[in-house]
């Protein structure tokens, strides 16, 4: 998917007036947010488990080269193949080659954000191979030719009526007058249409929530079971995963799984968690004959040890976006690439560059809720601030902002001057703003007041008030 993150401001402005989107996003509070709170309350050890999950990932990252080697050893020993892909284009080429060698015509896909990151669907299509998304949400956006708007609920921006209209347009083999009012009817129809695709596909591509070094195992977590049909029916299974998905042992996987579903959907655990190790064994009646893992770097090794290192702990649960007031107002598409919300605001500039995605770290009110709910305790606001600083240093900050900041800094460093200026300005503003108690516009600060009012000061500066208070006591 081609990044559109430069257009964040325009996208966000449009999103704010999109009524179906508002309705769709309105459901997050009663759904994901309330369910997470319930799951957390239901497990007394939840906060401690967050600390442990963080520690597991920190240990893994500090030994990542060694664990990856161990993981590869075990995959190979179980009859699978590991392909190392430094860039997105290396990964695409490796996947296409496996598909071509298998003579594949159609490829079923489980939900994979790495697949979106490397834009594998377009690439396969250009080579004459048809990718079929099988996660219901991914299917809904594939038929609309849209990008996911949420990492765990890719079609969260759509309403039932939109889905109905799409199905009537697409599933023309079914009678037009069929009833498609309830979500259950829509789900049943998708199940029926996709079942044939599952059985016909030559290759299945899934992502991985975890890679386990102890056993050479890839783990997927789903509620639908689509990922499982994708990996156990076709002749070839390809796992695409980024290198930081690794954990050492099954015990470490347990710890991450205990916080993942609870943080994501608020379930105690997802319906299906599947551990696959290599291709079908001699005694197996089913399973793929070939098992490939494409390990993607695509910028991760550059984050390692940098000020964005902590972001590599992310387990893609989506809690940060579910709790983000900015995401809740503008939705995921405004962010313009694969990863939206607070995690996207940090990850996107790290992966595609600050020039492309410089607006995203500004899409924050710095309320801190994302960090408060992140199961991996990733300091998201701090990292967004790092990006703002970098942007400033690189000169991406508009000239006017800089001039303003410089003037303020000049005065602020000179105590007497600052006092004199603010002592003059505040009573003045208090007089002009007395009637309504707020300013709709202020000269030279139009950018700020265009979207909000500034409360008028009460008449004295903070320092004056402080001195008075001190004098009294």
């Amino acid at each position: 998917m081609k990044p559109q993150s430069r257009a964040f401001k325009t996208n966000a402005t449009q999103a704010l007036t999109n009524e179906p989107l508002k309705k769709a996003l309105g459901g997050i509070k009663h759904g994901f947010v309330a369910n997470r709170a319930r799951a957390r309350a239901n497990l007394p050890e939840f906060e401690q488990l967050r600390d442990e999950a963080k520690a597991v990932k920190e240990h893994t990252l500090a030994h990542l080269d060694l664990y990856l080697e161990e993981y590869e050893k075990k995959v190979t020993a179980s009859g699978g193949h590991v392909h190392w892909a430094p860039t997105a284009s290396d990964a695409r080429e490796a996947i296409l080659k496996i598909c071509q060698d298998a003579g594949a015509k159609t490829v079923t896909k489980g939900k994979t954000m790495i697949g979106e990151e490397i834009a594998i669907n377009d690439y396969l299509e250009d080579a004459g191979i048809t990718p079929v998304e099988t996660d219901l949400g991914e299917y809904l956006i594939q038929i609309r030719n849209e990008a996911p708007s949420h990492i765990i609920a890719p079609a969260i921006h759509l309403t039932k009526d939109q889905v109905e209209a799409d199905f009537r347009k697409l599933h023309t083999s079914l009678p037009y007058d069929r009833v498609l009012e309830e979500p259950a009817q829509l789900v049943a129809e998708a199940r029926k249409m996709l079942r044939e695709q599952f059985l016909a596909a030559d290759v299945g591509i899934t992502g991985a929530n975890l890679l386990i070094a102890e056993t050479g195992t890839s783990v997927i977590v789903t509620n639908e079971g689509n990922g499982d049909l994708t990996q156990c029916l076709p002749r070839v299974h390809i796992v695409i995963a980024s290198i930081e998905k690794t954990v050492p042992t099954l015990e470490d996987a347990n710890t991450i799984l205990r916080v993942l579903a609870r943080s994501a959907t608020g379930q105690e655990c997802s319906t299906y968690t599947t551990f696959t190790t290599g291709p079908k064994r001699p005694e197996d009646p089913d399973g793929p004959e070939e098992y490939h893992v494409v390990l993607l770097d695509n910028g991760r090794t550059e984050m390692l040890g940098s000020e964005f290192h902590d972001m590599l702990r992310c387990i893609r649960c989506g809690a940060c976006m579910n709790h983000c007031p900015v995401y809740g107002a503008v939705g995921g598409h405004a962010y313009g690439w694969v990863y939206p919300g607070p995690m996207g605001a940090v990850l996107t500039p790290s992966l595609i560059g600050i020039d492309e995605a410089g607006h995203l770290p500004n899409a924050s009110t710095f309320c801190g809720r994302c960090e408060a709910v992140c199961p991996m305790r990733i300091p998201l606001p701090k990292m967004m601030r790092h990006y703002r600083e970098r942007e400033y240093e690189k000169g991406n900050t508009p000239h006017r902002y800089k001039l303003g900041l410089k003037l303020w800094a000049f005065a602020a460093k000179r105590y007497r001057l600052y006092q004199a200026l603010t002592g003059l300005a505040i009573p003045l503003m208090a007089r002009f703003g007395k009637r309504s108690g707020r300013f709709r516009t202020i000269p030279l600060a139009g950018g700020w007041t265009r979207h909000r009012d500034l409360p008028a000061p009460q008449g004295k500066t903070f320092q004056q008030l402080w001195r008075e208070k001190e004098a009294k006591s």
Binding site: E52, A62, N223, D228, I243, E251, T276, L295
Partner: protein, 226 residues
């Protein structure tokens, strides 16, 4: 770049980012140690429940996740439970299983109306049956292993999935369940697929409304034996 060079370039990039001091002996030792001793992290208290409390937790959690749970005193009771369930649910009195010896021990002819087919799952299967290897009560989760005894396709293709588990195989935590599999398959070895199943298939992708039976089974019926 060739495959070997790509591999080396990623590993080198990691090493230079981590810039470990001195030689790698300590790091290597830490990794070897962790992989062989696989130390347990924190296990929630509920994962340590035993006896009746554990069984109760397992059943209640699983039912909370929309599965149906029945109890059978012994394998002899299974045919009647299955026949009654299929009748109540308006389902055909036939199902498919793998070759697990448990299914041979069950006296199916006791209930002549039932027909048992054998083999891997088919797209047309309405009802299948599998035996779970172990279970973790902490989240009402059953562990199924791939192989001829219980082919993986049986777990995902049918509309209705019936799972049999022995009471003694219901353990407290994920840690316990993995250790049970380590006892069977050996250290650092797993069967091709281990499916952790905690209810019937579902989706909430349309307006966040939960609908059962997205792609996998719409109904899950767990029979506890013993």
């Amino acid at each position: 770049m060739s495959g070997a060079e790509d591999r080396q370039s990623i590993l080198d990039a990691i090493r230079s980012a981590l810039h470990p001091k001195g030689d790698d002996t300590a790091r290597k030792q830490a990794v070897r140690e962790r992989l062989t001793s696989h130390p347990s992290n924190l296990v929630p208290r509920r994962g340590k429940a035993s006896g009746d409390a554990r069984l109760k937790l397992f059943i209640e959690t699983l039912e909370g996740q929309s599965a149906k749970v029945s109890r059978a005193k012994s394998a002899n009771d299974i045919p009647d439970i299955v026949a009654a369930y299929l009748r109540e649910s308006n389902l055909p009195a036939e199902f498919r299983t793998g070759s697990d010896e448990l299914f041979d021990r069950i006296p199916w002819d006791k209930t002549p109306a039932l027909t048992r087919h054998q083999g891997r799952g088919q797209g047309s299967d309405a009802v299948t049956m599998s035996r779970a290897r172990s279970a973790a009560a902490e989240t009402g989760t059953l562990f199924l292993t791939s192989g001829e005894e219980n082919p993986t396709t049986l777990n995902f293709l049918p509309d209705t999935h019936i799972m049999i588990i022995s009471k003694q195989d219901i353990l407290g935590s994920y840690e316990d369940a993995w250790n049970a599999l380590r006892d069977i398959y050996g250290a650092r070895t797993l069967p091709r697929a281990v499916n952790l199943v905690s209810g019937p298939s579902r989706t909430a992708d349309i307006e966040q409304i939960i609908v059962m039976g997205a792609h996998g089974p719409r109904r899950l019926h767990v029979i506890i034996v013993g």
